[in-house]
């Protein structure tokens, strides 16, 4: 151990949930003025560990020290009093209030604040260059601004140790850069930042130290300067791993889908999709980039027939799909594996087992009044094997009890089993670990090879660029560009995501 006392030390932490050991004897420490990454696959125990540090969970055993003194947190309040604040993935902000009001909310005295508070908040925001307009309503803020506001909230409560739980998942590259600047500022100020992520390049770029967790255990703590992504991946996964996402180079086939002037309005009449036109080709992956809520959901649903289209056409082999029922569209060979934010809202029925989820796509073609479950049972076993789905059983085990990656594989497995000609897949790797992500990328490449036209919506720009042949960028329901993935940089995409239309006409590929 080092001579100087760590700012925070967690020793021999054990936490179990029922039979599942989430944290097994974990040791972890952070010093002042340090950005420390907590790296690990899903289910490695990162969030559990941090939830104990922020007082949400209580360890079964083990000790936590702040500046060498043992502490016991039995509520988030205790952790905040000890100077520890956590920014969660899901923001806890009141939309109709201003930034300032949100910061003060929940403090002693409620909204009755005096000028001193206002001054203090302004000073904090300036010191860390958070760039927040304190009088702006949360409803009018971008995701990046909201996150900075969350950080400000935590700082205002006196936090000197900041825990950021996958903060970059929802940010554009520009916003990510800004976040990193803030983190460095805090480091200079003597704060400690704990950065949870599984994005290797970000971890390498911003941190001083990295602690790798795997299956609830501490694997190793390394100095960022002395390691590389390859080593980190090996530590995370437990065996050597090829990190590169490979594009399958092949000639694209004939046009599969042609979307013309597609406009979809929300209830309030605001367009969710505004005059969107693009083509999809057989044997090609069309990546779709965009900040969450830029119209991705509506686009998927419009193609699948779930969304009322206000204007425009969607042609599949010169036949307009607009106005057709989801059933008719699916019967033509257009499959959707759409993963909404809660992952189990569409496509899969959370409370049902795998067999019944496969039946969803089969039963309407069966004759008679009764369900024939035999075929689905066989199929379930097949898919389980083919996609290496880890499940206690295909019957009587609701899919909601499976891990995210396995749920995703069930959904993809079912959709691909219908041998579609068009595959629409949204956020297929959200929240999945590296191994599973790569498995899914391989699956998409395989489909592409078979001649399927793939629409691939995701968050990670690196992957969108690496896997897709072309990238279509959506901003506020508009297409701001359709570009060649091979010749476009992340930064260019980032600018388009913020609404800037593509500059160089030459790159435009329709």
């Amino acid at each position: 151990m080092e001579n100087k006392t760590a700012y925070i030390a967690m020793e021999n932490i054990v936490k179990t949930f029922g039979k599942v050991v989430a944290n097994n004897n974990i040791n972890f420490s952070v010093n002042k003025g340090e950005i420390h990454a907590l790296l690990g696959e899903n289910g490695a125990g990162k969030s559990t560990l941090m939830n104990m540090l922020s007082g949400i969970y209580i360890p079964d055993s083990g000790s936590i020290y702040v500046e060498g003194k043992p502490v016991v947190f039995s509520a988030p309040k205790d952790a905040i009093n000890a100077g520890i604040g956590m920014v969660h993935q899901h923001f806890k902000l009141v939309d109709v209030m201003t930034a300032e009001e949100n910061v003060i909310l929940g403090q002693k005295g409620g909204l009755l604040f005096d000028r001193q508070d206002g001054e203090k908040i302004t000073a904090l925001a300036e010191r860390f260059e958070l760039g927040i307009d304190l009088h702006k309503r949360v409803a009018d803020m971008s995701v990046g601004e909201k996150q900075n506001l969350e950080i400000l909230k935590v700082l205002y409560r006196g936090a000197r140790i900041l825990i950021l739980d996958e903060p970059t998942a929802v940010l554009t590259p520009q916003e990510t850069e800004k976040l990193f600047r803030i983190m460095r500022k805090m480091k200079e100020d003597g704060c400690a930042v704990i950065f949870i992520s599984h994005k290797m390049n970000e971890v390498m770029a911003v941190t001083d130290k990295i602690t790798v967790l795997r299956r609830g255990e501490t694997i190793q703590t390394l100095n960022t300067a002395e390691t590389n992504p390859q080593q980190l991946t090996e530590l995370m996964v437990g065996r050597p791993m090829d990190l590169a996402v490979k594009r399958l180079e092949q000639e694209r086939g004939p046009e599969a889908i042609r979307v013309e002037h597609l406009t979809v309005k929300k209830l309030e009449g605001v367009p969710a999709l505004d005059n969107v036109s693009f083509n999809m080709y057989a044997g090609e992956i069309l990546s779709v980039a965009g900040i969450a809520g830029s119209g991705q959901k509506e686009l998927c649903e419009a193609i699948a027939g779930l969304q009322k289209v206000d204007e425009g056409h969607i042609y599949f082999r010169n036949e307009d799909l607009v106005g057709k029922s989801p059933k008719e569209i699916a019967a033509k060979g257009i499959s959707m594996s759409f993963v909404p934010e809660d992952r189990l809202g569409m496509g899969l029925v959370a409370g049902m087992d795998m067999v019944h989820n496969l039946l969803l796509k089969q039963y309407q073609n069966q004759k008679g009044w009764f369900l024939n479950k035999k075929a689905a049972l066989v199929k379930a076993e097949e898919i389980t094997e083919k996609f290496e789905i880890n499940t206690p059983g295909v019957r009587n085990h609701p899919v909601k009890n499976l891990s995210g990656g396995n749920i995703q594989k069930v959904l993809l497995g079912r959709e691909l089993d219908n041998q579609p000609e068009v595959l629409i897949t949204a956020y297929p790797v959200r929240g999945l670990d590296i191994m599973t992500c790569h498995k899914i990328y391989d699956i998409l490449n395989e489909e592409k090879k078979k001649g399927v036209a793939v629409l691939f919506i995701a968050e990670d720009l690196d992957v969108l660029l690496a896997l897709g042949d072309r990238v279509m960028v959506l901003a506020n329901g508009e297409v701001t560009g359709i570009v060649d993935a091979k010749t476009t940089s992340k930064e260019e995409i980032g600018l388009m995501m913020l609404g800037q239309h593509q500059k160089k006409e030459g790159k435009h590929l329709a």
Binding site: V72, V349, A350
Partner: protein, 354 residues
């Protein structure tokens, strides 16, 4: 300091164990309470069992109590599976009994088998149609069925009161507000000393089990209950599914109504349902909406009701004490459900954080 902590999903066996512990805790609590009130708890519990099974007659009564609960719970379970909160069993029961009673009172000359079949079908239709009103409102305007079904209960009961005091009043009852008794041809026959409703109930348990677990329509109801988006995606006609599930739910409640009117009370009156439609919501829920489990839970409930009534007579225990006993048992069983999902952890409070 005590903390509530979520735990991993309990296994089926453990859930049963927890529920059994709940019942035991209820009996224990009630025992303390009874002892303090001057009764010997063991004698009282013994009497409750005696009251439900002690004689052939009491056993018969217990079964007669269980039959309507079972059919109502089955009906409610169909709607609840769709997360369609049908609180209207009471009213649907009344309207089923009303339509069935129309044939019993005005076509009593029909041959008995024909009349009975028509009455049972009319019961289904009456309850089903009554349930369609809120279902249609839900499908069309997305109104909360929990409110509309509940409100329609009062409408239905007042309708029966109107008939009882007005057009359907028995002219032979000297002006007393009472509807005529059914003639023999409109009374369901008995099998094994108990009216044939018990056979209908058991057949329906099998039918509903098959319907919910092995039929396409039942599957669609379950999908819709889990996720309306998925249902749309699969191509299910949402409105049609809501309407048909509500109709089935109401039809079973209506059937219960006419069975009760025909076999048990032998006439229609505004007191026909008297709350059983609400009790059935509890039993359906406790059964986890599973048809076979409904039989067990409803039978236990019937035993409890029958036993609680008997101890009043046998021990002179007042009605309120008997109600407290029943409520205690329910409270603990429902409460024990909490422990299948959460556990309490004793947290030693050391030094506070500084």
């Amino acid at each position: 300091m005590l903390k509530v902590v979520k735990k991993a999903e309990s296994s089926a066996g453990k859930k049963v164990l927890i529920n059994v512990i709940g019942i035991l805790a209820a009996l224990l609590t009630a025992a303390v309470f009874l002892a303090l009130s001057g009764f010997n708890p063991l004698e009282v519990y013994g009497a409750m069992l005696k009251g439900s099974f002690g004689t052939h007659y009491r056993f018969t009564q217990t079964v007669i109590n269980a039959v309507p609960l079972i059919i109502l719970s089955l009906g409610i379970s169909v709607a609840f599976k769709m997360k369609y909160w049908n609180i209207g069993a009471e009213g649907q029961m009344m309207m089923g009994a009303f339509l069935g009673a129309y044939f019993a009172l005005y076509h009593s000359t029909w041959p008995k088998p024909v009349l009975l079949v028509v009455m049972l079908l009319a019961g289904c239709v009456g309850g089903g149609l009554w349930a369609l009103i809120p279902a249609w409102l839900r499908a069309k305007f997305n109104t909360s069925e929990a409110i509309t079904t509940l409100m329609l209960n009062y409408v239905a009961i007042k309708w029966i009161v109107y008939l009882q005091y007005g057009p359907w009043k028995d002219p032979k009852a000297f002006g007393f507000p009472k509807m005529p008794n059914f003639t023999d041809s409109a009374i369901l026959p008995s099998l094994g000393g108990i009216h044939i409703g018990w056979v209908i109930a058991l057949v329906l348990v099998v039918v509903i089990y098959l319907f919910m677990n092995h039929s396409k329509a039942g599957f669609e109801i379950a999908i819709l209950g889990e996720s309306e988006n998925t249902a749309r995606y699969v191509g299910i006609n949402i409105s049609k599914t809501i309407l048909s599930a509500a109709f089935i739910s109401g039809a079973l409640c209506g059937l219960t109504g006419i069975i009760q009117a025909s076999a048990v009370t032998n006439n229609l009156s505004s007191a026909l349902a008297s709350g059983i439609g609400y009790t059935a919501i509890i039993t359906a829920w406790l059964s986890g909406l599973s048809a076979p489990v409904i039989v067990i839970v409803c039978s236990l409930f019937a035993i409890l009701t029958q036993g609680a009534s008997y101890i009043q007579t046998a021990f002179g225990i007042s009605a309120s004490v008997a109600s407290v006993l029943q409520a205690l048992i329910l409270f603990f069983v429902l409460g024990s459900d909490f422990f299948t999902k959460y556990q309490l952890v004793w947290q030693e409070k050391k030094k506070g954080a500084n």
